[in-house]
Point group: C2
Chain length 390, copies 2
Amino acid sequence: MTNFEFYSPTKVIFGKDVVSMLGQEAKEFGGKALLLYGHESIRKNGLYDLIVKQCADAGIELVEHSGVSPNPVLSHASEGVRIAREAGVEFIIAAGGGSVIDESKVISAGTANDAPLWDLVSRKAPVEKALPIVAIQTLPATSSETNQVGVLTNKETNEKFSIKSPLLVPAKAFLDPQLTFTIPKKYSAYACFDIMSHMLEGYFTMTADFAPAHEGFVEGLSGAVKISLDRILKDPEDYEARANVMWVAMLAWNGIAKAGLEGAALPNHMLEHPLSAVYDVAHGAGLTIVFPAWLEYRKKEIGGRILRFGEKILGMDGLADLSEEAAVDKVIAAFREWLSSIGCPLTMREAGVENPDIGELVKQALTLCEFWGIKGYSADDLEAIYRLCL
Amino acid sequence: MTNFEFYSPTKVIFGKDVVSMLGQEAKEFGGKALLLYGHESIRKNGLYDLIVKQCADAGIELVEHSGVSPNPVLSHASEGVRIAREAGVEFIIAAGGGSVIDESKVISAGTANDAPLWDLVSRKAPVEKALPIVAIQTLPATSSETNQVGVLTNKETNEKFSIKSPLLVPAKAFLDPQLTFTIPKKYSAYACFDIMSHMLEGYFTMTADFAPAHEGFVEGLSGAVKISLDRILKDPEDYEARANVMWVAMLAWNGIAKAGLEGAALPNHMLEHPLSAVYDVAHGAGLTIVFPAWLEYRKKEIGGRILRFGEKILGMDGLADLSEEAAVDKVIAAFREWLSSIGCPLTMREAGVENPDIGELVKQALTLCEFWGIKGYSADDLEAIYRLCL
């Protein structure tokens, strides 16, 4: 294991109807908050009314900023900073999925620091102060509710970067699995694969030859997501299945899965970000497109790991009876088949992208390689992988 | 899943030589600290000198309180409170195993609050304030470095209780696997089983019929400890194996394993505490005595779970070919065989307790049942289980 720091100080309040404790839990942060959310969904499911009532009862004045998009953008975050400063809010309540919580981090940093917003996001300027964030997660996937990272797209330049600071970890997170009942089946599947991919990135890229804690964690929790998704696709209001997914989503990307993991990198996230930045593909769907393609491209180097994935996570047997090459191909085929069976796209075409500008995708991926310190991918490599996604 | 809160705000600093960052990380807590430790071991391995130098360089004055015992006792903690108050220390540096970190929590609460110390430990008086704790873990087992709990024995009454408060979670924890190289093989095995038992308690007592996240977590990480221990018993200076154990120890008892787990209880810890309180049996060794006996006693009710344990954690196969009764007995026998093979006692006699006062053990266990809210154990049940431990 390499040296690392693990710091996830969020107070997680998990379970049925926990948002009814919002007022008493949030008032310590002040009397005026920015309420950040997306569009209509929190109004439809009653969450909006509950937040407003909780804050009114606790004497917290709310200033609203709605309209966060699934891939949050710089212009909307800038507007949030303007509103937050003008109103003098003391903290932020972020009610929504990872996109809303991600953007709340950008607004928190932007409001508290003088540096230009894109400089904070692209890490040219440091985050020295922050407004506290209270997160109410409605689309569990990114663990944004307990981690330091917020992803944001600059539409002018089509760049997708991520702000990062220990100051930006939400102070409190409310996780009520009931709030996820209305996530459509398709997006439930995307989110579940996003959760799994957060763990699988390190699993497939690590170079350590002894990492049983990591392997046990990833295999155990990825399997749990897969089993739970089966139940959710049958009954979207299965509380226990939704609760297991919501809890694993938090654990999968709060820092545990990659802690001390030698060689771990995020090539699939690196490949996916340009897809969602340029073509507005949902992040989870972008991942189901690039992940099998990346495995295909890397199968000669990580065949043993792919076989273990097939056995431990996909639950395959009989692989030992085949040649390694045939067994690896069988696992990748089974992986694709499973992703298809849960309603996820396997190609850009299936995601509605007919004639992608591969040059632009490669260009952006190269920028991310540098930004995230991912080594070993030339433009030719990236082009070859994107061509496997057509 | 039942509703729960998860809060583990410790900044964990993990890896080779991390204690060389102690000064810079600790000075934010003030200029005077109580250094709490056990006996000679931190002097022998150089940790003591390193702490002294780090604190001197950072301008932190140290007041020492050594001699914490493996099962820390009230009288020593009271003396620590007296010293801490007299010197006016601002925080505590706890360098040692779970016992030292546990006692540091008691001293922290005792110094900052006016209530009698035993009232704080036995939860008759609330912990309203606390001194910050910086923990340097040298015997990973209890995750005391990241949780709210500190166990303490009152030798006058032979009671063993635990203080608990979110204010007592250490602010920072230094985990250097190299500091665990000198743990004797026997104690390494005790500690590893203690770590596993923290996860297995919930695994065997939960009543939920769908808990894949919990099962995956426990099976994955228990298996990791078992694999790592095999390597440690061959080579106590195997860094990777020690690192995996140290990391899992933290994860196993920081709140994740029992979060939301319906019906989860700690019957084996309840059965063990009187053993170590009355006969000074090492906690981990006490657990290897009571756990198989408890399984034996409960095997009719939790047979299916015992079979899963055999397959997923002990790695047994062929169980499906036997009757359930025979298969369960086979798993318990294999469990005992494994514990023996790693050098752990299976009976009180093997731990040097020849003629235990079972009445006293039962009496204390009943008190703990009430204190911890564990239901379903009459005096007859407890006596029967202790008799299986003779």
